[in-house]
Amino acid sequence: MVAAGAALGGISLATAADAQTVVDLPFVNGQRPLTAFPQKRPLLQVTPRPPQLETPFAIFDDGVFTPNDAFFVRWHLAGIPQSVDASMHRIKVTGAVQRELLLSLDDLATMRTIEITAVNQCSGNSRGFFAPRVAGGQWGNGAMGNARWTGVRLRDILTRAGLQSNAKQVQFRGLDGPVLPETPAFKKALDVDVARGDDVIVAYLMNGQPMPLLNGFPVRLIVPGWYATYWVKMLAEITVLDHVDDNFWMKTAYRIPDTPAANIAPGTTGFATIPINKLNVRSFVTNIADGATISAGSTSLRGIAFDGGNGVRRVEISIDGGRTWRNAILEQDYGKYSFRRWNARWDARPGAYDVAVRASSNDGVMQKATPIWNPGGYMRNSIETYRVTVS
């Protein structure tokens, strides 16, 4: 099957049950068949239905922008339209507004165009590394990506509709729906002040191209600096609420402990929670994997760092498991919401090393060695360490 796929320009037609490449993520039940979904290169298949696909980590070494066909995919409900006509698509703006709107993509084209580079990261990225483990989508570190998004400001749409004075939140829904009518439809909401921010956009291009259907064609919400759960795909309804949204996906799901760093001891009960919101600071090495063997001599370490919109102030690397650190060089800045690539030269002598990387953001927060824990498996961001043998 893979050979047949190669003849089609590298697109594998294999599905999970075929003999094919399986990536072994380093945790229990971490076997992930590399599977090509439509408009996608082979990705780590976490689940086929609804599709949850993880970006192979080596992709992040290829460049600062994650290619559309390699971008991770995560749907909550299996009622996903498999055919979408962009020309017929409408976004309905309703609720506590002065004027209801029904916007086509042509309507959006008449509005001011905004481009912004931003990381889209799943709330549960890296959940598989939680200890103790928690139930949920068992992602490695590849449920994230960085893209240049093009569209219009949500604020401009809200201004056109005119908010009523009692407007409190703005709720978003896409074209997807549940299999069973009893299942809560996927809806997310932002406070009005957040929704009216400079950088929240309704995007119709991803890296200058129409986005893959599985990433939300023809239009999706972009909330730079916030977790992907708010980036509603196939955006079809914008509803201004006069109250705090109490639908399941806001009131019950995607909640984090109302504690510093969303950290809480396993087994704790009865704690207050808040909706998940901004990304915390993270960094990764992208050119050397955990357990790698490299040749002695002058080499370079490369990687990425990002946070929830303060921007990356500093990246440091260690070759002794975090006892000593030195600064890496920060590469081109694509904006405060983007991956920031970094590099560092390493004169590697034979031996065994624990290579670590840590980033600090412009608000003074630095990654910590000790992982956080919470029952949802959200927001992991501890320092990454890679065992490297130099021979």
Partner: protein, 109 residues
């Protein structure tokens, strides 16, 4: 498998990739894909597997279960109750314990 070939052929002719960096207009036209059938995903054999096949696969593939790290009876009970009470899975009350026992046995700690 035939569906896949049709889908790929359709994609290449539908105009995915019309816009360029210089052309920031919204997309037009239809994109059609065919998602893979997950008919070949299945649960491990064991007492109660028919119950799992009947009530779980309506909404999601068996991978939702098999990727989990191995959950305790209490954790599987919570998952089944969530599916029944929050997501509306039509699991009869008298099938809950069968399902939990199956999951905790085949996908347990």
């Amino acid at each position: 498998m035939k569906k896949w070939w049709i889908a790929l052929a359709a994609l290449s002719s539908i105009g995915v990739g019309v816009a360029t960096a210089a052309n920031l207009a919204p997309p037009q036209g239809t994109v059609t894909i065919v998602l893979p059938s997950d008919a070949r995903t299945s649960f491990k054999p064991g007492a109660g597997v028919e119950t799992a096949q009947r009530y779980c696969l309506t909404c999601h593939s068996s991978a939702y279960v098999s990727i989990q790290p191995g959950l305790s009876t209490a954790q599987w009970t919570a998952e089944v109750e969530k599916m029944k009470n929050v997501y509306g899975a039509p699991i009869p009350d008298d099938q809950v314990s069968t399902l939990v026992t199956y999951l905790a046995t085949e996908y347990g700690l």
